[in-house]
Amino acid sequence: MSDKPADKRKIKSAKKMRDIMTTYYLDAMTAEQNNKQVAWITSGGPVEPLVAMDIIPIYPENHGAMIGASKMGEDLCIKAEDMGYSSDLCSYARADISCSVVKGGPLGGLPKPDMLICCNNICGTVLKWYEVQARFYKVPLFILDTPVCHTQYSSEIAKYVQTQLDEYIVFLETITKRKFNYEKMAQVGKLAYEAQLLWQKVLNTTAHKPSPMSAFDAFFFLALIVTLRGTQIAVDFYKELLEEMEQRIKDGISMVPNEKYRLLWDNLPVWYRLKWLSKKFSDHNACLVADTYTSAWCGAIKYTDENNFLGSIAQAYTMIYLNIGVDQMADQVLDMIKFYDADGFVMHSNRSCKPYSFGQMDIMKIVREKTNIPVLMIEADMVDPRSFSQSQVETRIDAFMEIIKQRSN
């Protein structure tokens, strides 16, 4: 009995993850009937205290990614623009705000929040976005302000963020009218730590040649480390996924059939063009082996103490990839190029994500100077397809691959 070549390449854990995500959203949709509370939280926010308090975390940004991938972004963005929001506003924000009003998108809108948790370690847009939603749903909003660490994490920043984390606990106690469960917090912290280690190990498997999965797969499998971090479910799932990747390496199964060139991706995915981009690169025998985006959910683990989780996360949450200086970001990129042995670097200049796209020219320059590998910049948007010009992107990718091929000859 032999599998078709295409079936052989399919990652089996994908089905399980879809099931987990469906259950997760069903639980959230029925939270009120089950006397559970729902908190909306930004993608880089500290979710673990919510899990410890049995509050269901919902991520409008994960929802934004779903909207983009299901190609519903344009319509929702236009609806937000009809409401008066600028087309320059982040497409996740536009899609989420209009979804709340029109109950659109793949889920027919997110479950109503009981509270909003906004951490600005990923961008400044979330502040106004969450204020808008707090007014719309008439629910309390907690803001965690994490100053950008251009060069270093100072003692002033440490004290400032820690004070807010203490206030966060008081905020949760007030809203839930329950005492904070420190015992459960310790367990959740360990699980969150373990899941992050596992996720990093999964991502590390792509250093193998040929790579058992691509960044396009990582974009998909990322969902659990974002939404279910701190639960046993995430730990169990990533253990299985890691085993599957290790087995694929043993069996010599690669994601791209004839992997010859290995590329590193920067910035968020172009959610509505995943398939097209994946095929485009695969046709050139190129695999996007890694990216700066999915590793952001485990990149700051070195600052976390699993035995003193609550006491150590101030630094981990402050020093994530998007909240550090350009030189430090470039250092991480250079490390990744080396670790994954990348032949080229593809940067997505994302019209929506200003903090991610700002500084890309400098990083590009640094990478060119220090590695001499070709760097490509493509202009697009993560959710709004009106910012994507297929023929321009196609010519750029083709020319970039021609240069890589010419150099390898």
Binding site: T395, D398, I403
Partner: protein
């Protein structure tokens, strides 16, 4: 052995033939609404001019935005590689290329072997492209071919501040209403377009000698505006517009 290159651009379709590393001839037609037909027509016409038959052609490479619509090509390549190869073929000393075509403009940096080291292309915007000049020529009721001559006759180029083609057009219309000299407005338009293109060249730190290619290289006003902006002379060959097709033919000879 004879090799062919076909470059289907957004405005014109170009064909070139080379034999024994020598250019046999080139031909240019308007692409129009049917790029498939344009590819066939420009190729057939050139064959007739040179008096050779299709069977004598050893290999064909197509390039340009319509590269995929040339079904009889052996391979497609992007215009970046083809312009690089074409420029190196015409003049092996060339290290930089500024190509301004109908739909986009690009700056290319070549290594000593003529391989593309780096490139930059305009973003999703028509400013700094042939299309920009076309829109302006229409607003000013001047033949596109005469745009360059008009601009060379300017005494005080007007200042176009908008970087968007649509806004620049309305700016030009108000200048016409304000009775500014047509020559000065046209020179201003060239300076605005040149400023956009120069950004691409500076982005990749282009090195001399630099060749200008693409249809817009035929516009003397644009060449001068670019030279002023960049601070050095540009080399413009007789076959600047067909350079991409020539490069494609050279690449075909290496298949």
């Amino acid at each position: 052995m004879i090799y062919a290159g076909i470059d289907i651009g957004s405005i014109t379709a170009k064909a070139a033939l080379i034999k024994d590393n020598r250019l046999l001839g080139t031909h240019v037609i308007i692409t129009g609404y049917d790029p498939i037909n344009a590819g066939i027509k420009v190729f057939d016409t050139l064959l007739k001019q040179i008096k050779i038959s299709k069977t004598q052609i050893s290999a064909i490479i197509s390039t340009g935005y319509g590269r995929a619509s040339v079904s009889f090509a052996d391979k497609t390549l992007t215009e970046i590689i083809c312009h690089g190869t074409g420029a190196h073929f015409m003049n092996p000393k060339i290290r930089g290329i500024i190509d301004v075509g109908g739909q986009d403009s690009k700056a290319i940096f070549l290594d000593k072997m003529g391989h593309v080291e780096n490139f930059a292309m305009n973003d999703k915007c028509a400013a700094g492209t042939g299309r920009f000049l076309e829109v302006m020529a229409r607003a000013l009721e001047v033949d596109l071919e005469l745009l360059g001559d008009f601009s060379l006759a300017a005494d005080k180029p007007s200042k176009i501040s908008s970087i968007c083609t649509v806004f620049a057009e309305s700016e030009v219309i108000s200048m016409i209403a304000g009775q500014e000299k047509r020559e000065n407005i046209i020179a201003g338009i060239h300076e605005a377009a040149a400023a956009r293109v120069a950004i691409l060249a500076n982005k990749i730190k282009i090195k001399e000698p630099v060749m200008m290619t693409g249809g817009v290289a035929k516009n003397k006003g644009m060449v001068r505006a670019l030279e002023n902006r960049l601070g050095f002379k540009l080399i413009v060959g007789e076959s600047a517009q067909e350079n991409g097709a020539i490069g494609a033919a050279v690449m075909a000879s290496r298949l």
